[in-house]
Amino acid sequence: MTLMKKTAAELQALLHNGEVSVKEVTEDSFKQIAALDGQVKAFLALTEEEALAKAESLDNAPKEGRGPLFGLPIGIKDNIVTKGTTTTSASKMLENFVPVYDATAVEKVNEAGMVSVGKLNMDEFAMGSTTERSAFQTTHNPWNLDCVPGGSSGGSAAAVAAGEVPFSLGTDTGGSVRQPAAFCGVVGMKPTYGRVSRNGLIAFASSLDQIGPITRTVEDNALLLNAISGVDHRDSSSSPQQVPDFKTALTGDIKGLRIAVPKEYLGEGIAEDVKDKVRASLKVLESLGASIGEVTLPHSKYASPTYYAIATAEASSNLARFDGIRYGYRAEGAKNLDEIYLRSRAEGFGTEVKKRILYGTYALSADHHEELYVKAMKVRTLISQDFASVFDNYDVIVGPTSATTAYEIGGVVENQLTLYANDILTVSVNLAGIPAISIPCGFSKGLPVGLQIIGKHFDEATLYRVAHAFEQATDFHKRTPSIGEGTN
């Protein structure tokens, strides 16, 4: 039986009693990766030598003062910089890029005594929701290898679901932690904007991006968010807001909790099997003492065009830094500076990235700036106000994380309503800057369904409380995919 499907608390007990060493835990992660990743393809780079060396030194550290994540393996999404280890954002543009510093979130997991085992696949520059847009490989869903793991943090979710690592970091600009967590049947949190430092995160859309934890259980997720949260002088948009101990929120008690269910979240475009599981989950929450009311988020139907205008405008500006000069891909044989820019960017970026840069450039251009970009920022205000009015009377909002379960690799979602519904469910949360968590809430045809719980700014604690209470009352989190069971 692999150690990678155990919780942090279980692993700490084994470490504390001397039944396993940090080195053995680390070796088990690499054993799992060796056995499974040929099929799952979650990792883009492995750091076995460094990880085992670190594990040995951790084994020699005194037992006193070890935190709850000490000695545990973690995988890092490949758009978060890691000193001395390639960080590609799954783009040809950064294929050989080796950062010279660690992102703040990486520094913090290191300080917690975690052992990073490698870098995880994603859609190029986090632009996509299937991980098929990686320039290097397509990650497969551990529950059904013919299906996508979701994205853009598909590698991060698949690695945890498959039991290759118990922890990973993903990033969420428009749903990129929550949707793959839903597709892979694991727990994924998009924290409040500003909760986690973005220093060292390769920027996609700076007013939307957040780093978030992906784990098997709610408690483990809370522990990892505890470790990576907090203000950082290297990210002036990180918040000085106090970080509570999220673990203390896991009381199991949600009596009197007021849950809002937006009618748009169970409306057209959402698959019936997903609606069924979400309705059944609401009954579970009700049985635990919560009250449920239907609400409306009237501007949610504009979330998708608003998101596209703002995210691509910011991306077109952020990705201007990839010019072939200081780092990254440089076209061969360019005769002048302009040719270096034009050709390096033409050859280094994939189709989706170019599409978004072009649309973002258009949104920011003198003729369209007011009618598109500024207009979108105004609609963003309205979307944000919709949430604020709901939170005047409710503690959390609950709905599906995604309109469907995972779809087949290479398939195209043709139903326009489904595409819209997917965006409505996730991107509006990023536009408002509020936190949201996805937890497993059932299965349909062998594929996991995700329940999304959305909260007020900086109220991740309530999300963890609700998610934990639901998890304790159900056993969806105990199911694991059959992949690799012969090796466990």
Binding site: N96, F97, V98, V100, Y101, Y193, G194, S207, L208, H233, S236, S237, S239, Y302, S304, P305, T306, Y308, A309, T312, A320, D323, G324, I325, R326, Y327, G328, K335, N336, L337, E339, I340, L342, R343, R345, A346, F349, T351, K354, K355, I357, L358, Y359, T361, Y362, A363, S365, L372, K375, A376, M377, K378, V379, R380, T381, L382, S384, L431, A432, G433
Partner: protein, 95 residues
């Protein structure tokens, strides 16, 4: 504007500093036209007297002491540079 033409692709690609062949410009004209039509949906929203939301958090004047910190090593940084000489990045002749 709903149709984003191949000429539009080349016009905006020049600002974005990305080279497109004529055939690519045709292909991207289809892709971007879809997005432009999508963005037009925002026109139906009444945003009179609504302030644009530039940022999800209201943080003002984030300052720190003016002392050097987080200084990266030049040699380490140059390790990722394709061509360099005497600590400087080399580019083709620009004159």
């Amino acid at each position: 504007m709903t149709k984003f033409t191949a000429e539009d692709v080349q016009y905006f690609a020049n600002f974005a500093r990305i080279a497109f062949s004529d055939q690519e410009a045709e292909e991207f004209s289809e892709l971007i036209s879809g997005l432009v039509g999508f963005g037009d949906e925002l026109k139906e929203v009444d945003t009179d007297n609504v302030e644009p939301m530039t940022h999800p958090l209201q943080l003002f004047n984030v300052l720190r002491e003016d002392v050097p910190q987080d200084v990266l090593d030049r040699d380490e940084m140059l390790a990722s540079v394709k061509e360099h000489e005497d600590g400087m990045i080399k580019v083709p002749n620009i004159l």
